[in-house]
């Protein structure tokens, strides 16, 4: 009688453990699948963003290329620098702190 009772207890305990672990396992699998799916989605988004960044960088380089800027500068009709003067500064003109 005592044997049967304790056996039932072990059975019940084992069944509970199996059930809870199974639920936990399913929950974990679900989480893992969800996270790996999310990671894949984010990876795809990162790839798209990287492509867009590269595209913007390319467009920026193209728009700011000297070849394209030249006509814009010419349209501004800026005054051309006639002469550049350099100031001769000799070391003995400075006082050391």
């Amino acid at each position: 009688m005592t044997y049967n009772k304790s056996f039932k207890f072990v059975e019940l305990f084992s069944f509970t453990i199996i059930l809870s672990l199974s639920v936990f396992y399913i929950f974990q699998i679900n989480q893992s699948t969800k996270n790996s799916y999310l990671a894949k989605i984010y990876q795809q988004k990162v790839a798209v963003l990287l492509d867009e960044t590269q595209e913007l960088k390319n467009k920026y380089t193209f728009v700011n290329s000297l070849e394209n800027l030249l006509p814009a500068i010419q349209e501004l009709e800026l005054e051309k620098i006639q002469e550049i003067s350099y100031l001769n500064l000799y070391p003995d003109q400075f006082a050391e702190k």
Binding site: A47, D51, Q54, E55, N58, T61, S65, E67, L70
Partner: protein, 546 residues
């Protein structure tokens, strides 16, 4: 009775479970790879590809060559040909006559972003937009001969793209694509980001100077009607190329539309007779061997008779008694022959070799050519005399720049190079030097060449406040009949500055300009180029200009 029955059921269930587990183990573990491959083969395809190609950058990091992603659409002829409504719909969406499709061939078309949505809205299994990576040159035609291009086989062709193919290309590998039930590619199961990228290659090229050099060549085409031209700018102390411009150039983004000959990099592949520029090297040899000094005099009769037609001066001038400095200032042919005769055959040829005129410079660009100048090496006295003032000797612009750089660099000949670093790591293997004349001879010659710009034929190259050294060169061109064309010349100017501490060396070479001599054509262009560099690098004047 109950107990054995339970045991039997349990044993049966256990045996069945063992059987299934065993079978599953056999299918999934023992033969798992085989069945996995079999299943994958039914819905996915493998494609050989490589990681993203490295970029090519100017000295300050401006982009010269990079990669970009394109949206493309494959149009299968067999699926579309029978459906006139679909064909018209595609023509409307793609705004393209779709000629290849009309001619019975499948085709691939590049899509704009709004077209992608319209194509997806059609919801057809055989019309799925894809992405592909292509090489892109955001500067268009700029430095096209130097950079080269990436061909359809994804291999670099010409210039840096070919020379540095191994460094630029990404890791090669295989990626898998998912396929639709009809066999059309649907999407990548993995992209090439899993493969290692190629290395970025940084050049010694200065963006601003390169642009200016190309602009000056375009101006020369407009004002002097040149058929072609080359400008090279270097740092004479290192041999690093700051600009290498050719006119005409091509657009590497559309290289398929170009003629094969337009890919020739004239700066390293086109041989020409340098003309009077070569007198500087003859003089360098004379000074270095102690055969002449800047003050040595000789008497010019206006011609020299070495058999055959007489060797005469430019414009048939007669100068009388002249120093060696005057020989360079007035570019006297007979004076150069005088120095060559003082040197003798062996020494003259020795210095021609030392300055590198019979070998490659070794620049890190694919396809460099050179002439062994055998007609000179094995030639008669007259051939050597002509060579002393730059006729009958063939050189490339880069050979000329490299050799002239030795005069600017205290007699040290530097190997020219265009790549400064790969993936941020400095390329030291490219730097090498060789002493070809003494520092003293180089200084003497520099002083003589400075007078060419200050008072001689190179006056139009001078900039107030700066000492610049240079030499003009006007050479005749041999025509198709093998004789010198009286109407066509190559006009050049080569020089460096500031002479006390050279920071740049410039070669201007103009093919067939509508000008009498290089002092009228190439020298003023040199001045503009030098002025730009002086302003860009903020080089202070050597002397106070009045």
């Amino acid at each position: 009775m109950r107990f054995p029955r339970l045991i039997i059921i349990f044993v049966l269930l256990f045996a069945t479970a063992i059987f299934f587990i065993g079978r599953l183990f056999f299918l999934q573990v023992v033969q798992g790879d085989y069945y996995q491959a079999l299943a994958r083969g039914q819905h996915s395809f493998l494609q050989e590809t490589s990681g993203k190609r490295g970029q090519i950058l100017f000295k300050e990091g401006e982009l010269l060559a990079t990669s970009k992603t394109q949206d493309i659409l494959y149009l299968p002829f067999r699926k579309i040909s029978g459906d006139a409504v679909l064909l018209q719909l595609l023509k409307d969406i793609l705004d393209d006559p779709l000629e290849e499709l009309e001619e019975g061939r499948s085709m691939t078309i590049v899509l704009e972003s709004e077209q992608i949505t319209q194509i997806k809205d059609l919801d057809l299994s055989f019309l799925i937009p894809q992405k592909r990576t292509v090489r892109y040159y955001p500067q268009g035609e700029m430095a096209s001969h130097l950079v080269g291009f990436l061909n359809a086989m994804q291999k670099g062709q010409y210039g840096i793209e070919e020379e540095y193919q191994e460094e630029l290309q990404g890791e090669t590998g295989v990626i898998s694509w998912e396929g639709s039930p009809y066999g059309y590619l649907v999407s990548k199961l993995q992209d090439n980001s899993v493969l290692e990228m190629g290395n970025d290659v940084s050049l010694t090229l200065d963006y601003g100077i390169q642009f200016m050099a190309e602009q000056l060549l375009k101006e020369a085409e407009r004002d002097l009607a040149i058929s072609s031209g080359t400008i090279i700018v270097t740092d004479p102390k290192t041999g690093g190329i700051l600009a290498m411009a050719n006119y005409p150039n091509f657009d590497p983004n559309n290289y398929r539309q170009e003629e094969l000959e337009s890919f020739q990099n004239s700066a390293i592949q086109k041989l020409f007779e340098p003309g009077s520029i070569f007198k500087a090297f003859t003089m360098a040899a004379g000074l270095n061997e102690g055969k002449v000094t800047p003050e040595t005099t000789f008497k010019d009769k206006g011609y020299i008779d070495l058999g055959g037609s007489l060797i005469r001066n430019y414009d048939r001038r007669t100068w009388g008694e002249q120093t060696m400095t005057e020989v360079l200032k007035k570019s006297i042919n007979t004076g150069a022959v005088f120095v060559e005769q003082e040197l003798g055959r062996e020494l003259f040829l020795k210095y021609s070799k030392r300055f590198g005129f019979t070998q490659l410079t070794g620049i890190d660009l694919v396809g460099e050519t050179y002439s062994r100048n055998e007609n000179l090496v094995n030639g008669c006295e007259r051939d050597l005399a002509s060579a002393s003032f730059g006729q009958g000797i063939a050189v490339t612009p880069i050979q000329l720049v490299s050799a002239f750089g030795a005069i600017a660099n205290n007699g040290k000949l530097m190997k020219p190079f265009v790549v400064s670093s790969i993936q941020g790591k400095e390329e030291t293997s490219l730097k090498s030097s060789k002493q070809v004349i003494t520092s003293n001879s180089a200084s003497q010659l520099t002083s003589m060449l400075t007078q060419v710009v200050e008072e001689g034929f190179g006056r139009k190259a001078g900039i107030p406040g700066y000492f610049l050294a240079g030499k003009t060169g006007t050479a005749q061109v041999i025509n198709e009949e093998g004789v010198y064309d009286p109407d066509k010349t190559i006009q050049s100017f080569i020089g460096f500055g500031p002479t006390l501490d050279p920071q740049f060396l410039i070669l201007i070479k103009l093919d067939g300009p509508q000008a009498k001599s290089s002092s009228e054509s190439a020298a003023p262009i040199f001045k503009k180029m030098a002025q730009y560099i002086i302003n860009r690098y903020q080089i202070p004047p050597t002397v106070e200009s009045l």
